[in-house]
Amino acid sequence: MRRFFAAALCAVLACGLTACGQGGEQSADFYAMDTTMNVTAYGKGAKNAVGEAQTEVDRLESLLSRTRTDSVVSRLNAGTGDRAVGMEVWGLLSAAEKYSIATNGAFDITIAPVVSAWGFTTDHYQVPDQSELDELLANVGSVHIHLGEESIVTLDDGTQIDLGGIAKGYASDCVEAILAKDGVESAKVALGGNIYVRGSKPDGTAWRVGVQDPENSDGFVGILSLTDAFAVTSGGYQRYFEQNGKRYHHIIDPATGYPAESGLTSVTVVAPGNEEGTISDPGHGTMCDAFSTALFVMGEEKAVEFWRSGAYSFQMVLVTQDGRVLVTDGLKDKFEQEDGSGYAYETISRSPS
């Protein structure tokens, strides 16, 4: 009888070991929103959540894509069909307008035609004529989007929108809500460069998230130890083209129509997970996505000023062209500097020193 008990105990422990090591992990890799995505979840509810997350991202792409002709956004851009876009898209456009106003236009979803003129949406790169840019810039700005009642949206003639700057962030908000609904306590979500980590790793430690060194593909400028957080990085060091010896990257400054030359090479924005999100509410994931682009356009001085205003709750890591890494003090204990990176590290506090 005791032998039977001991053998049964072994079997139970072995099952437990298997669950901890592999059986508790569910993971899916897929392409969506013009990027690669991975959702990995652990433990109870993981299997359902990973499947639902992929379905949800596909659903959002069908709503928000600018290149799929049947999407709500494409219909809006074409000026055809019903201008009632539904409360979900209306809410996202409303959030985009809010972030555009907050950043004084540094983030702007109406920059789409200018980005296309540079060829970044078609991969046929070119430097547009100034006259073409001037004409397109006349239709850029959140004032050209009119959010009416009952989810009615109207665009001024010549204005087009592209939600690519917040769609993945919004998707990460939605995936977070799914993980919460399914009771998942540990997960890692990478939607392109948009990261969301839920809880801690199964071994109880924080997730280690590397911030890519814009100047050295082999290295990081540092490693963030994160739990329950969103993080997004914007930089112009991978998606670019060169013409006549000059490099042009894909982050366009809505004020000039040219790639932003703000003195920053990378901006990472970090914010805590949403407290009790519902699937259709843009949250911190959306905000991180919008602000990483906006702060890159704004440059160091304005970005720091914006962060210090405290208007929005987030932390950031700025990498400058002159070799500095600026880390806001809320990340001080979460950011591990990279030895030998060659960067000078500085901590930014709320009050100027």
């Binding site: 032998r3 001991a6 053998a7 072994c10 422990l13 072995a14 070991l17 901890c20 090591g21 592999q22 890799d29 897929f30 392409y31 013009d34 990027t35 690669t36 991969d123 046929h124 890692k188 990478a190 460069g193 990261i195 980590v197 790793k201 997730w207 280690r208 998230v209 590397g210 911030v211 890519q212 814009p214 050295n216 593909s217 082999d218 290295g219 990081f220 490693i223 963030l224 993080a231 997004v232 990085t233 930089g235 060091y237 991978q238 998606r239 670019y240 083209f241 990378s266 990472t268």
Partner: protein, 134 residues
């Protein structure tokens, strides 16, 4: 006075099996705790259209190797070596995979979206990460 051994505690062949099972379980737990699940070396996982097509233990390569990968109308040449991977040329229009450069740490990846080819590193030294921003 010699103590009389109880017949109930005398080892039997079946007890040895249970003891072996416990030892095997202890060894498995120890390996798990020490990271025995790792491959032991830096590994490149090559995926095409989201499906893993090849897993290469880079630490076992005797020298650099170049793989030609074809998918969705594009051709990439990927150089694999013991210290990492890089796309050395690609016929894709945006060249983001080439611009990504050489990667060498677990958690890093190179993605060619037009070709839907990715190379992701795992295992290796303890300086790897769970995810990469950038």
């Amino acid at each position: 006075m010699p103590m009389k051994r109880s017949p109930e505690v005398r080892p039997k062949p079946a007890d040895a099996l249970v003891a072996l099972a416990v030892l095997a379980l202890a060894a498995a737990l120890a390996l798990s705790a020490w990271g025995g699940g790792r491959s032991g070396g830096l590994t490149a996982v090559i995926s095409v259209n989201g499906q893993v097509t090849e897993t290469v233990n880079l630490s076992r390569l005797s020298g650099p190797e170049v793989r030609e990968l074809n998918a969705n109308g594009y051709t990439l040449h990927v150089r694999l070596s013991s210290d990492g991977a890089e796309v050395i040329d690609s016929t894709c229009p945006n060249q983001v995979c080439v611009h990504t450069g050489h990667i060498s740490r677990a958690g890093q990846s190179i993605v060619c979206l037009p070709a839907r080819i990715s190379v992701t590193l795992s295992g290796g030294a303890e300086n790897g990460v769970d995810a990469v921003l950038g």
